[in-house]
Amino acid sequence: MASTTGSTTKDAELRELLHRNYKYIDWKWNAVFWITAAFVVGAAGDITKLLFAGDWDFWTDWKDRQWWPIITPFAIIIIGSALQYIQWLAWRFPTGMVYTAVCMWVFATFGRWVQWGAFLDYPLNFVWPMTMVSAAVVADWTLLKTKSFVLTSILGGMAFTIVWWMSNYVMIAPYLQPALWMDRVLTVADVQGIEYVRSQTPEYLRIVEHGSLRTFLGETTYVALAFGGVLSIAGYWIGQFIARALAIWPIGRFMKKW
């Protein structure tokens, strides 16, 4: 009884604290924070993705059924996971993954449009960036429901990979149509890769259909998705480490505990 009364009292105190008005901290603080952090988050997410997934997120002829679904979800879940931890810990916002996704979308789209489209004149239907927003919604929703980073990593990580692949396969689909070209049957994406000169990316560097344990019952994609899902779980915890050990813990060393 006492503990219930005690927790009720505590809840009331926290409720009052939640709605307290601060003289010097108003909505402008929040706006400045979200907007300026977008540049850091977008840059961090985009750089991580470029370093790990690089060409697989760039060219339509690299968005294959094997390495694209293995490498890319792993690369993009890392920063999203870090932001999930920070935003849940600090504000109980299940927004870390989605925030990362929209920031990266803006950065990647702007980069392709300006750098690759306007400056280098690559056709944008050859270099369009992937979207991780749909997968991020699933991951953030999982955190909201489970309130557990372990469950989010396992369930959310697997779901993240599958939803990510489905939502991006929609965009690659028209470029996988067959065409007769150079006396061979190639996909539209292959033709783009051959026609549009990429001087420093000779064809033998394209990592497509490499590997030995590639298929089960002839289904390369499902094996890749399963492996990619497991890799995403690992990526999720890399992100958690970045947030906990490299962001929150150092801050805690210098800030007074409440």
């Binding site: 909201l144 996988l176 065409a179 033998y204």
Partner: protein, 412 residues
Amino acid sequence: MRRRIVVALTLGVVLLVASAPAASAHGERAQEAFLKMRTVGWVNVEFTGGEVRQGESGADEIFIGQGEEITITGITTLLSTWPGTLGGGNPNTGFISVIAPGPVVTIEEKTVNGVSAPHRISIEKGGIYEFDMTIAGRTPGRWHVHPSFSVKGAGTLLGPGRWINVEPVDGYTNPLTLASGEVINLENYQLSFVWIYSLLTFFIGMGWMFYWTLRKRTVQNLAVTSQIPLNTDGMSVGLILKEDHRNMNWFLIVTLALTVGMFIYQAVAWPDKLPQQVIEFAPPAFEQAGAVPVAIGIQAAYDANTTTVTMEAEVTNTGNRDLVLAEFTTSTLTFANSEVEPATLEEAELVVAPGGTVGAGETVTLRLTLADPRWEGDKLIPTTESQLEIVGLLVFDDGTFAEVHAPLKLEF
């Protein structure tokens, strides 16, 4: 004071930008001389098509319109001097293409030894590869375009290049015929579909973010969240409400409906799909027509003042007809003997003494004089490297060619 700072900053930026010269190169000057000369040789590289007239360089250049095609033909060979330090000394995978500043031209057709070769080919040291590439103008401007031979483990090696001027054409398209018979424009096929779908997902994400950031406070929450366990959503204190759970369920439903719905749409709209293709094969062997001459390099020397290489080579004609030396080629340079054919488009003059003729069955020592400022400009003289050699190909009037490599004598 503030005004002085503004003036100083403005001046600094203006000076920085105004003094920056235009940069244009393919990066081959960064490659070492041995990499360019000892690896791949180029024979009879010709750019055919378009209009040839005086260009910005003062010399003849090629002018084509957007979509207009020209062909690049020639022969490339992996030299026997291939360094043991590259690709394990055993090159096995290559890719013949063009080097250009981005997709300023498009590759329309490519054959190697008569067979269509869109992707990589299996290669070997000493292999000879006759290529025929058709390229089309795409981006208006003046571009230097080279044929290239990329070899796994070594990098991309350039052949002789030409200036190509692409002039704009109204309504330029890049048509491609699908297996279904539909003709599409590769420049923008399904681009609006991709952007609209991607934008829809972005709006869903922004909706999710606005829901949380506009309805709830951010920074101020820390005072509360720091006092509750991590694995709680703070519903008892009002951090997250049941209403929030319900609304997020709707967001998830909309997201999954869009994802699944569009996944079904693509399966119906484009039922015939293939995975990206990988084409790799060994092209049929190319044999030189005619008796192949043999060349042994005796000595080479370089005069930095006149940027001239002189080379003595002993040439044996193993055939039964007289041969005349037509060209000397190395890396990006071609020297043409005007007695056989005048130098064209970026070729330099080949002077050969005592005359370029080697009689049938004879062995003659030829002295070649190869003057071209690009020996310095393209960094082809290996003065700072560990292998002082000039390597190239002697090309004769019957189309046969022979490798020649001579030690380079330097004067100090």
